[in-house]
């Protein structure tokens, strides 16, 4: 389960709206305890994929991910996952998302942005055998973890 406050979820979805018609992306910072993760904040990052394909691709470079890891350490948090937007496509991982996925255990939050407005976010976990993603429940909670 992934717990996130309404305020942080709003910030995450606003990033996707601002990036529209391209994909926006960033890191989820928070705490992980077994299979329960709490998002404390997001760290929006530049989409580094080539500009002409950003409408359906995103990339966070190792240098940006390093910055994110150090930022998490500085705040006493961990990188617990990633988020990105799907402009005018459902908040479901694509085959490309699966091929490029990293490790099972990170939460992948996807926001559908329809005509510039965020219309819903869902979270996904890569299966251990990397064959597919399975949905992770999102709990929006007013209490920070």
């Amino acid at each position: 389960m992934l717990t996130i406050t309404p305020e942080v979820l709003k910030a995450l979805e606003s990033h996707g709206e601002a990036a529209y018609p391209n994909e926006g992306a960033g890191l989820l910072l928070g705490r992980a305890e077994d299979r329960h993760k709490t998002v404390v904040d997001i760290l929006p990052l530049e989409n580094r994929w080539g500009a002409e394909e950003q409408y359906h691709r995103y990339q966070i470079t190792p240098e940006d991910a390093l910055y994110g890891e150090k930022e998490a350490v500085r705040r006493g948090l961990d990188v617990i996952g990633f988020f990105h937007s799907h402009p005018d496509h459902p908040a479901v991982p694509s085959e490309f998302d699966r091929e490029w996925a990293t490790w099972s255990g990170y939460s992948y939050v996807i926001t559908m942005v329809e005509k510039g407005r965020a219309v819903g976010s869902r979270s996904w976990l890569l299966k251990e055998d990397r064959s597919a993603f399975e949905e992770e429940e999102i709990r929006t909670d007013k209490v920070t973890g």
Partner: protein, 90 residues
């Protein structure tokens, strides 16, 4: 002793530790030491063919080892290494 920082989802394989001490004169030796101390990490870092997975990056004191001497890069006692993923999708 050098230390290496472990990404959050791999910490179950290092006893829950975010940073672990490692030994070895080079980055390659240090990574071998890491996976021999924590064998269950290996499949998450390496392909079946023994290559580092494409999305796995190793930084030595904030420098990508690919910009240094790769696995041959020397490691000193006070060095800090980090395992960092490349992230992409569609």
């Amino acid at each position: 002793m050098p230390t290496i920082r472990i990404p959050t989802p791999l910490r179950p394989y290092t006893g829950g530790n975010a940073e672990v001490p490692v030994a070895g004169p080079t980055v390659g030796a240090v990574l071998t030491d890491l996976t021999s101390r924590h064998p269950n990490l290996k499949q998450h870092l390496y392909t079946d063919g023994g290559e580092l997975r494409a999305f796995v990056n190793v930084f030595l004191n904030d420098e990508d080892i690919r910009h240094l001497r790769g696995a041959e890069t020397p490691v000193r006692d006070q060095d800090r290494l980090m395992i960092i993923p490349s992230i992409a999708g569609g």
